[in-house]
């Protein structure tokens, strides 16, 4: 909400400037980057002198959107697999890793939620567990994490994206869920437990084919200034 208001304000100021000669650059970003986008936007605008317009969506939908000509100079996906599909479709220049994210267990303040202490508890709990859909990067990572741990979890739902997954716990409808560490951090009130297991999802950024301004933004996102912003939000260096 705050983000979209920010975007609105940006659009409004753009309109107010009228013929401002600062070019506007569109960035299509995975929704897990929603909370950090404002800081990244400020960094890019300061360093490169452009207006940046973020729009967020599910990584999985980007390939189709780009194929249909979505106007984006830069694409940021939540995981590497999604970026690989976009790259192999020849829609972007070679990508760079910008950050990694991990899964954590978040629990609701419910009887079953308070009982959960570790990943294994997700398989044995009587409570309601929700996971991201396998088609979403967080869901694919969740599947991989549980597979490696040899755990058989019966989720009550496979939510379409990580935000929806988190919401179910925030509302107390689910007792526990696997979400990105960054999402858990953005909602400080939630109890979160590290999920053991070395499953990391690597967020990658790529510029549209031959887009010089986009390439500069990707380089900036992969650099040390962006890394600091990302680290503050709970991402790790790739």
């Amino acid at each position: 909400m705050r983000r979209s208001l920010g975007t609105l304000a940006a659009v409004a100021s753009l309109a107010a400037c009228g013929g401002a000669d600062r070019p506007t650059v569109d960035v299509l970003a995975a929704s897990s980057y929603t909370d950090v986008a404002e800081s990244l936007e400020a960094l890019i605008e300061r360093e490169l002198g452009v207006d940046v317009r973020f729009s967020f969506g599910s990584s999985g939908s980007f390939l189709e959107q780009l194929r249909q000509g979505a106007p984006a100079s830069v694409v940021i996906t939540a995981d590497a697999a999604t970026m690989e599909r976009i790259e192999s479709a020849g829609l972007v220049d070679p990508s760079s890793a910008i950050a990694t994210n991990r899964l954590v267990i978040v629990t609701a303040d419910t009887a079953a939620g308070r009982m959960i202490e570790a990943l294994t508890d997700l398989a044995s709990t009587d409570g309601i567990v929700v996971l991201c859909a396998s088609s979403a990067p967080c869901g694919a990572a969740s599947d991989e994490l549980l597979r490696r741990a040899g755990l058989d979890v019966s989720p009550a739902s496979r939510e379409p994206n990580v935000r929806a997954t988190l919401t179910k716990v925030l509302l107390g409808e689910a007792d526990a869920a696997l979400v990105y560490r960054t999402d858990a951090l953005a909602h400080g009130g939630l109890r979160s437990i590290p999920a053991d297991g070395e499953v990391v999802v690597t967020g990658r950024a790529a510029a549209a084919e031959g887009d010089a301004r986009g390439a500069a933004i990707v380089a900036l996102l992969a650099g040390p200034d962006a890394a600091e912003i990302l680290r503050d939000a709970g991402f790790e260096a790739p």
Partner: protein, 256 residues
């Protein structure tokens, strides 16, 4: 004028044509017989039919009460009944969670009794009925309002009880409106996405209805998503075509 008329025609027609154009004809059977597709189709048919049944059974008395009711209380109740039409379905889903979720206003009593609605097939039916009910109520209430009261009066003078007059004379007179309302409600229930995914979640075989499966497949296997989308279109068109003749003839016969 024709040029202006073409704009909305293209707006409405182009997406449907594009869907057919992108249809992977050779993989049609594979896509339709995949486990995700068959379980979603089965679940959608069962839940939407039950939801429609609930709309008819409970919507009929509600439509009647709204049609005969007068004054402020009726207007307030009607406004509440129509809200789901203008409400974004996701908001409806959130509202359903706050009401029937396990911490919800009503839901906490259900939870105490061991009844769970979110993440269950019953939850899907509830979400569908929530968004579909206004379409049925609106259709039937309008018919009841336009209905000549004299039919029921004549029946009562001839010895029918008010209830018998309603069931034997009034109900058959608004049969077309009931049928149209039920079809509208069913179509709305079948296509329900936002309230379902918010309230009941998405799990194959339990709460993942056709629209939810389409959304999930779009990110995994867009070609299959196109096939399922086309299936929904075909069902919708089939309903319209099948009802067209009967519909119009019933409407004509309802004229006094």
């Amino acid at each position: 004028m024709y040029a202006l008329a073409a704009v909305p025609a293209i707006l409405l027609g182009a997406p449907l044509l594009a869907l057919l154009w992108r249809l992977p004809w050779t993989d049609l059977t594979d896509a339709l017989t995949s486990e995700a597709a068959t379980s979603a189709l089965g679940l959608s048919l069962v839940t939407s039919v039950i939801a429609t049944g609930l709309c008819v059974v409970f919507g009929l008395p509600l439509a009647w009460a709204l049609a005969v009711g007068r004054g402020m209380p009726t207007r307030v109740v009607r406004a509440f009944c129509l809200l789901p039409i203008v409400l974004p379905p996701v908001v409806g889903g959130v509202a359903l969670l706050l009401a029937f979720g396990r911490r919800g206003l009503v839901g906490q009593w259900f939870d105490g009794a061991g009844v769970q609605l979110p993440f269950t097939t019953a939850g899907v039916v509830l979400a569908q009925a929530f968004v579909a009910l206004p379409f049925f109520v609106l259709s039937v209430e309008a018919a009841l309002r336009q209905l000549d009261e004299e039919f029921a009066e004549v029946a009562q003078v001839h010895g029918a009880s008010p209830f018998r007059a309603f069931t034997a004379v009034t109900l058959p007179s608004i049969g077309p409106a009931i049928a149209a309302g039920a079809v509208l409600a069913w179509a709305r229930a079948l296509g329900e996405f936002g309230a379902t995914v918010t309230f009941a979640g998405s799990l194959q075989g339990r709460t993942q209805t056709l629209p939810l499966a389409v959304y999930d497949l779009l990110e995994r296997d867009p070609a299959d998503a196109v096939v399922l989308s086309a299936l929904l279109v075909v069902i919708a068109v089939a309903v319209l075509v099948a009802l067209r003749d009967r519909w119009f003839s019933i409407f004509r016969s309802a004229e006094p």
